[in-house]
């Protein structure tokens, strides 16, 4: 159980990577942008992949009536996600310590993993909702009003994961280092639960 607890602590601490590295990246490339424009989604805000990308993406988007990209204080997520993350890290480390001291059992580790997974899925759901709103809730006075072949207004929602073609732009959406560290950390907490479970079965 001591080994499991140490892994639990390491796993939880890996979530701190979200404060240092971007969680997600959306990149927009086109022939006239040989250096693609890109957005890095951090846990506390959106930053350009290059220094002026946010301004330049906003400049492009205004033709099709998209809102300007939100500043950190304009979305509750960017205030609350860091707090939730800190809480989950603290909770994970606490569980690990308590497990190390033999105060709690491995089920708590699984419990933490399930809670984190639910929060993660909710986070992705929320992110997707925001992108849908951003890509479809367009200014009625937009300069360019484009329609799909069936007559419905064109959506500019970037893909949640993977590639999609929007007009002459190729949009790519993929996790980045922060997310990989979170996934690895969550994996480790699950492993911690498994090891704890095996250790309990043996004894």
């Amino acid at each position: 159980m001591k080994k499991a607890s140490v892994i639990m602590i390491i796993g939880s601490l890996l979530l701190l990577g979200l404060f240092a590295f971007p969680l997600w990246n959306i990149e927009l490339g086109a022939p006239q942008y040989p250096d693609p424009l890109g957005l890095n989604i951090h846990i506390d805000g959106i930053r350009g992949q290059n220094e002026f990308d946010v301004q330049n993406i906003d400049g492009l988007n205004h033709y099709i009536g998209m809102k300007v990209l939100p500043k950190s204080h304009e979305m509750w997520e960017f205030t609350w996600f860091p707090r939730i993350n800190i809480a989950m890290v603290s909770l994970g480390v606490l569980f690990g310590l308590l497990g190390f001291l033999g105060k709690i059992k491995y089920q708590w580790f699984f419990g933490w993993f399930i809670l984190m997974s639910i929060l993660g899925v909710l986070g992705m759901y929320d992110f997707n909702l925001w992108m849908t709103d951003y890509g479809t809730n367009l200014d009625p006075k937009a300069i360019l009003k484009l329609q799909n072949p069936d007559g419905t207004p064109m959506s500019y929602k970037p893909p949640l994961l993977g590639h999609s073609k929007m007009l002459n732009f190729d949009a790519y959406s993929y996790p980045r280092m922060g997310a990989y560290m979170m996934f690895a950390g969550m994996g480790l907490t699950f492993v911690a639960g498994l090891i704890g479970w095996k250790a309990t079965k043996k004894s």
Binding site: F52, N56, G59, Y63
Partner: protein, 655 residues
């Protein structure tokens, strides 16, 4: 790339078949043979690919520099230096007008001749290009991060600033020698009394190694000959500077005859380190002078012009051992130093031969005092004692020499219109190729340094007729590109250039590409009338002066409607481009304005003055096609009578 080569070869094949068919009765010699298809590949730079070299080609009487790629010959940019330039508003905008200030007032033109790239340890370092204004003597510095002219200093006591602008091995100095001898200081005197009374000023302009800022450290008041071209010593001869002279006869009329009487003129060898030491120890005489020093600040986006009031002059006779004359046959024009610094090549423009002086022999002759008299107190060395060798070429009218990295020299011959390749040291002729037509200078990238990149030579010709489709009596000059990577030179391309391509400087593209700025950062914009945000846009009246703080961003001006301007006002449009995206300038043009448009780079502020003369509603618009809605990027100014009481107001997006 492979595909392109194959398709090119295929195209050439087809072209050959077609021309072959048409020439069935020809003599069989085909000018478009295999060699020329080879040449097409050598100069072909595929779409999206970059040239290997930058070339900075002086525009001569256009007063500017063009930036050209080699080997493609593609024109990338025209950099205005000494001339007003309507394309960008240089010399028209309030910020850049001070760049063209001189002691004669606003001089919006000059004759730009010899660009030279800054050096460190005798190698090109890509920091700056210096170039001379020949007519109203000036030296300009172009910053190679922005490719803009950022400083111009006027040279007093000079006339015809021709033997300029050449930099020493570590860019310690930019040397500016006068072409015409003139009275120093200028005064009213009979021209036919010039002999012995005129002087030839050679100015040493120090360069601040951090900022590039120039200042005249001292001027040597040489005898009143004409100083034609010059080059700094390098390597072993570092610390010396060499200047060719003509008119040692000191004639003042019908010069083509009277200045060509002496069999030999001189190359002046100046030990500037010795003079620098003399000056640093308090030597020299401060003389009243009046000359402009104009500096452009990249952060305020403004130039300021300061009038300097004195200059330190040096009488060469007061520093024995600092200057010697090397007799050089037949009115030498070019004065070039090989990369090792051993040979000083003097090209007698009225002869067939080149004279190469040996630096080692010169030092030896000086130490052994092998003098052949003196001129105005300056010792003349014996010709035979300093001669390193002669190139007996068979050409006529040698002008300029550049060097490759394999110990060869290339000399242009104006009269026989050719380039002659010869071996430095043995002085044997290796190859010669004709130029079309009448070649002046030539340029090998780095050929003016200790480390030439001897792949191409660019010949800059004076006469273009017959080369391109005729365009009336006036046409652009032609430049020709030779491949010099082999033993024999090969003419591989020619292309028109702008103005008079007098001389050029070249360097590998990689030396400059990474440092080239893409935008000006808004947060560093310190222009007194700049605004950081479109929300700060406003109009202020101060008596007759109206200052409009305007913002541009795709695709609108803020504000776009302005009222309350009156006939007789002085309206200043201060326009800040709020884009921070590479290559998104906005333009500004006001109907009826008596100046040019502005072209404002991202993050930059520029000011244009407008004096409204007629009542009405007058449009302005963006001149640079900036976006799909570029055509909508426009606005109106309402001009009311001088005595009107229409309130000053401005707006954007209001009905």
């Amino acid at each position: 790339m492979k595909n392109i080569k194959y398709s090119l070869i295929a195209l050439m094949g087809i072209a050959l078949m077609i021309s072959g068919c048409g020439n069935q009765n020809g003599n069989g010699s085909n000018k478009n043979g295999a060699l020329s298809s080879n040449n097409a590949e050598k100069v072909y730079v595929a779409p999206g690919e970059y040239d290997e070299f930058y070339a900075f080609v002086s525009g001569g009487y256009s007063g500017n520099i063009t930036v050209v790629g080699l080997p493609s010959g593609r024109l990338f940019k025209e950099i205005p230096v000494f001339s007003q330039f309507a394309t960008s508003g240089y010399g028209y905008s309030e910020e850049t007008k001070p760049m063209l200030n001189t002691s004669f007032g606003f001089v919006p033109w000059d004759d730009s001749h010899h660009p030279d790239i800054s050096q460190t340890n005798g190698e090109l370092d890509g920091r700056w290009v210096f170039i001379n204004g020949n007519n109203t003597p000036r030296i300009a510095r172009i910053d190679l991060t922005t490719f803009e002219t950022t400083e111009i200093i006027e040279i007093p006591n000079s006339g015809g600033n021709h033997s300029s602008a050449f930099v020493t091995e570590n860019t310690e100095y930019v040397i500016a020698g006068t072409r015409f001898a003139v009275p120093v200081p200028q005064r009213d005197m009979p021209i036919n009394e010039m002999k012995g009374n005129f002087k030839g000023a050679v100015s040493f302009i120090s360069v601040d190694q951090e900022t590039g800022r120039m200042g005249i450290k001292f001027q040597i008041l040489m005898p009143g000959f004409n100083y034609d071209l010059s080059h700094p010593g390098r390597g072993k001869s570092h610390g010396w500077h060499f200047l060719s002279t003509y008119n040692t006869e000191e004639a003042h009329s019908l010069m083509e005859v009277n200045a060509s009487q002496n069999d030999k003129d001189f190359i002046a060898a100046v030990n500037w380190k010795k003079i620098e030491e003399y000056v640093n120890n308090g030597g020299g005489t401060m003389m009243p002078a009046n000359y402009a020093h104009n500096v452009y600040d990249e952060h305020t986006h403004m130039a300021t012009s300061t009038m300097k009031k004195e200059v330190l002059t040096v009488d060469p006779t007061e520093i024995p051992g600092a200057i010697y004359f090397l007799p050089t046959p037949k009115s030498p024009h070019g004065c070039d130093v090989d990369p090792t610094g051993e040979y000083i090549i003097g090209n007698g423009k009225l002869s067939a031969d080149l004279t190469a002086h040996s630096f080692t022999k010169m030092i030896d002759a000086i130490e052994n005092e092998k003098f052949d008299g003196e001129a105005y107190g300056i010792p003349i060395l014996k010709f035979e004692d300093v001669l390193g060798g002669t190139v007996s070429s068979g050409g006529l009218g040698p002008l300029h020499t550049e060097f490759d990295d394999k110990g060869n020299a290339y000399t242009t011959f104006f009269i026989s219109s050719e380039i002659v390749k010869w071996k430095v040291g043995t002085f044997e002729v290796i190859d010669r190729k004709p130029c079309y037509y009448s070649v002046g200078h030539l340029m090998i990238p780095g050929g003016n340094s200790q480390k030439p990149f001897g792949k191409y030579v660019l010949a800059m010709n004076k006469i273009t007729k017959d080369r391109y489709l005729p365009v009336g009596p006036e046409m652009e000059h032609s430049a020709q590109l030779y491949d010099i990577s082999g033993e024999k030179m090969e003419l591989i391309y020619d292309f028109p250039t702008h103005g008079e391509p007098h001389y050029a400087a070249g360097c590998p593209a990689e030396l400059l590409m990474a440092n080239s700025k893409k935008i000006y950062r808004l947060e560093e914009n310190k222009h007194p009338y700049g605004i950081n945000n479109p929300s700060e846009a406003r109009v202020e009246r101060n008596g007759k002066e109206v200052h409009i703080y305007m913002s541009t961003i795709r695709s609108h001006f803020t504000p776009d409607n302005i009222e309350g301007i009156k006939v007789g006002d002085e309206v200043y449009f201060h326009i800040t481009n709020h884009e921070q995206d590479f290559d998104v300038p906005h333009g500004f043009a006001m109907m009826g304005q008596n100046t040019s448009e502005l072209l404002i780079m991202p993050g930059q502020t520029k000011t244009s003055i407008w004096l409204p003369k007629k009542v009405g509603v007058w449009p302005f618009y963006c001149t640079d096609f900036c976006s799909a809605l570029h055509q909508e990027m426009q606005g109106y100014v309402r001009v009311s009578p001088a005595n009107s009481d229409v309130e000053l107001s401005w707006s954007l997006g209001e009905d």
